[in-house]
Symmetry: C2
Subunit: 334 residues, 2 copies
Amino acid sequence: MRRITLDDVANLAGVSPITVSRVLRKPDAVSPGLRLRVDAAVKELGYVPNIAASRLASSRTHAIGVIVPTLYNVIFAEYLFALHEVLVAAGFQVIVVNSRYSEIEEENAIKALLGQRVEAIIIAGTHHTPLSRQLLAQARLPVVETFELSPNPIDLNIGMSQEHAGQTATQHLIERGFRRIAFLTGNLDHRAQSRFDGYRLAMREAGLPNLEIIAERPRHSSVALGSDLFTMTHERGDVPEAIFCTDDNLALGAMQECRKRGIRVPDDISIIGFHDLEFAACAAPSLSSIATRRFETGKLAAERVLAALNSSVVSRAEQIDLAFALIPRESTAV
Amino acid sequence: MRRITLDDVANLAGVSPITVSRVLRKPDAVSPGLRLRVDAAVKELGYVPNIAASRLASSRTHAIGVIVPTLYNVIFAEYLFALHEVLVAAGFQVIVVNSRYSEIEEENAIKALLGQRVEAIIIAGTHHTPLSRQLLAQARLPVVETFELSPNPIDLNIGMSQEHAGQTATQHLIERGFRRIAFLTGNLDHRAQSRFDGYRLAMREAGLPNLEIIAERPRHSSVALGSDLFTMTHERGDVPEAIFCTDDNLALGAMQECRKRGIRVPDDISIIGFHDLEFAACAAPSLSSIATRRFETGKLAAERVLAALNSSVVSRAEQIDLAFALIPRESTAV
DNA sequence: TTGAAAGCGCTAACAT
DNA sequence: ATGTTAGCGCTTTCAA
């Protein structure tokens, strides 16, 4: 059973194939009479255009590639939501690939997206393999790196200083008078590493020793992991006065574990998270955090890509720093 | 600047285009000498094959369409993770589209996927517009509907009885001796509606009156929403003895709000959630829930799709019921 | 093992 | 406003 093609529709409607093509893409350029006949034929035959053929013929794909490390973390869901909202409305397809925090998988994703001839690539993170950088730079398409600030952006870079944010969270705890302040994370991907750098910087400046609570094998941030890591620390008899968690989920898990063990937050221990996820404000006690701008990042990235695609002016490396914000709440109140 | 094509590579390597194509797709069919020359030329030119052309010429896309209602809920992230794991390993591209819980957007997604000539469609849910059903049925490709059981599956259906699960959760509360049992949800998409049906069935059988806590405008399940809805109820002075929440996030939000208000769980109120998300076991108190099998659903759907694509036997409507399980924990302990 | 010819299904460019 | 012609960049089929 052959698939229905444009020609079949044209034959049935008694017009030329290009007229059918026009009815589908720019109906206003066709007289109402023909348009109706074509529409009827399309419907009768259940015709669905072959996008691969269209892309090949027009050499436009109307597709934009997006690479994220994972879908488990809601921050990427929010970011993707914003990207979709802008790009789909503008008639683009968004092709999402996840790299599972691996630079090799990211490189493969880039190759796959370039093979699909996406018109732009939006990629979370600024650390790539040399070949990835080379492919992106040579591809002559808009590239946006997001979430972090890069020392040498490939093209456009929209992010925030993860290190400065980590430093800010740590200083918040230091200012509250704590000395035994721990840094807690499930993995050390580049963003977590930068927050860690910020933590160490703040601790060094204050003349305080580092305290690290890091999962033995990399695990994604979750409430359960926060609970596990805190338990581990507690059972070592090594509970600090304050903890900076790289993610609100970890912080929530740690708080729950405190509660089970009769350790009061913030009376006995202070906890600050990261990202200011939706639940931070309504947690009991409410959770101090660093608010980050996932939605704005996605929206801005998408808008800049559209602008670049419409302008044909070759863009140069540019950087946009989306500020973060410290949100002090009960979990670190003195 | 023209893009590099197969012909460019062929010219540089001094072979015919088809030989280059073979080196890329089935290297074993080409003599080592030529293969090396071609590989060198590919590398030198930075050649990336045009997938649209390949798809058009071969009439195979190696693409599989997946439709989910949202990426905000982690259950879909888990499901997608499993789908990816199986399908990508088998050499397929997974194209994810989200329908934002709208049947019209789902219909558009189906059209878009068919236009891309995906080789199979895996779709969360069993409620579709008549046109969607027609398109899927006529498309002569494997279709898998997931998460729910359908009275009339289009093709393969892998899911669970949401209604029975809702009934089970409710009966658990009834058995514990509660009479004022509320059903709490942020929206009534089809799955939530089915759980609601199960709740009402159980309540009717026990001769108890319904108590509904439903957001005024549809909102996605979140901790913050659970907190809001509980607050609303509490401020109406209308707090029940037990609550069945359609999602663990809602349940966690409700529990946190209880805590803030000095209402003890489970002493003053019992709460059960749904999905048994990762945090349920480590919440304080630990959260009773209904465990659902998102990962298995995705894995099985993907495996069945691969089998169908390899067998060429036309599959008939078939249904697989993945059981759920009641997980009683502290939040409903008596 | 390698290549030549033909065509996948559509659209750009150029008529009329 | 509509049609004709000529590809887009690959792969299939068939031949050598």
